[in-house]
């Protein structure tokens, strides 16, 4: 097989792996964002997608729809965690390897409300951004994003989540929250959950 055919087959495989773990998140107002299934019924998204809502709507690839309470939020890293019933949904794989500038990356989301759109590019920089609450480590990529990509995954060539797309600069530069920050946010949220369950 020619290299281009092999590449297309590999991209199809990546898409099939990631499609079931992508959610559409809507806070009932105009516009919607994306979310990633993180296991145990947890859905990860950007805080700016959720806004001040206590409950948001989550739509999955299989057509199921949930009213999901917002169970954790962190404005410092623009992350929020939603809870849906944990009935055997697949979960995304988060990358534990060091992101490398120049590696292929793919953004998956719902730009301008169009469902399940994949855009590609390379990882531009492993850097940091001065936010409202101090410096935040971020990944920058040269992938095309639009409103509706927020909360969606930035994937590496293996289909692992290396970040959560959070911002757009000038149409062809995206900013993503790196997987390492997501993991510690998830760990913190899970710990809180256990503490609340024990009370």
């Amino acid at each position: 097989m020619k290299a281009t055919a092999l590449l297309n087959a590999a991209l199809d495989e990546l898409l099939e792996r990631i499609r079931p773990v992508l959610a559409l998140v809507s806070n009932g107002r105009r516009g919607a964002g994306a979310g990633v299934l993180a296991g145990d019924g947890l859905v990860l998204t950007n805080l700016h997608v959720v806004g001040r809502a206590h409950t948001v709507q989550v739509l999955l690839e299989d057509g199921s729809r949930y009213d999901a309470p917002v169970i954790a939020r962190d404005p410092h890293v623009d992350l929020a965690l939603l809870q849906i019933p944990a009935n055997g949904h697949p979960a995304a794989v988060f990358s534990s390897s060091r992101p490398r500038p120049g590696e292929l990356v793919y953004a998956f989301g719902h730009p301008w409300g169009q469902r399940n759109v994949l855009t590609g590019g390379v990882l531009s920089a492993v850097t940091s951004l001065r936010g409202w609450h101090g410096e935040v480590p971020v990944l920058r990529a040269d992938v095309q994003l639009a409103p509706g990509n927020s909360g969606g995954p930035l994937l590496n060539a293996s289909g692992e989540v290396i970040g959560l797309n959070a911002m757009i600069f000038g149409g062809d530069q995206s900013v993503a929250i790196p997987a390492s920050l997501i993991q510690s946010f998830l760990a913190g949220a899970r710990k809180n959950q256990r503490m609340q369950a024990a009370l």
Binding site: A10, R100, P101, G102, E103, A125, T127, D142
Partner: protein, 297 residues
Amino acid sequence: MSNILVELSNSLAAATEKAAASTLLVNARRRMPASGIAFAPDLVLTADHVIEQEQDITVLLPDGTKAVAQLAGRDPGSDLAVLRLEKVRATPAEPAMQASIGQLVLALGRPSDAGIEASLGVVSAMGGPLRTPQGSIDKYIRTDATPYPGFSGGPLVDAEGQVVGVNTSGFGRGVVLTIPAEYAWKVADQLARSGSVKRGYLGVRSEAVELSEAAQKELKRKQASGLLLVSVERKSPAEAGQLIVGDILVGINGQPVPDHDALFAQLTGDVVGKSVPMEVLRGGKPLVFMVEVGARP
């Protein structure tokens, strides 16, 4: 999962790492720093327009070492400049002597101490010669890889991590061009040796004009146009070589000169100080004058 996509991704990341080892931060202006390419252990190639101060230039090496650099030479015509490192040594980049349209390329830059930055694209077009605001370049490359702020002076690299050319936004109008490595390395060598690039100078103003059928018959070749001399500066190389207003310049050194681009392509540094045959039409008849080409002031 290991497949061709992962392999491609790994080789692009490896190419980035390899070229990043020769890509420096160049701090020679008040605004954001720009980028540079080590082309010898002690020499750094960068864009001329990012050098806004000739003193107190610093560079940041890929390993995080900050060092002072001296300006060794600059050429606004091709928007290239060379810096000399004194105490530290850099890893020289490997130039790629060829590029082809459609090939994968990465634009790299080091505009901050946070590390290397990259964007992916293809070689979109190749062309030249090109007249620039202050001179000309032989050849240029265009790419659709996004040039981020501070990428000027940084490399465009191929999938092997070899440098295809030097990216610059210095030719104005918001256009980013890549100066091919082959040409850039040649200019850099001259700048490192002599501090400037010589360009040929005749001291004429000219206008492209059509050549009549009769004139082409006299020339014994098909050539649709030539350059009508509309003024000849006093004490210029052209005047000393007996060229006069009204002559139509049609050839230099045996090469036809149908337009200004062809004239610029002939007036390189190589012909400065040499006596070069200039073919003109005077009164409809072809004549050849020997003109000693000067150096452009």
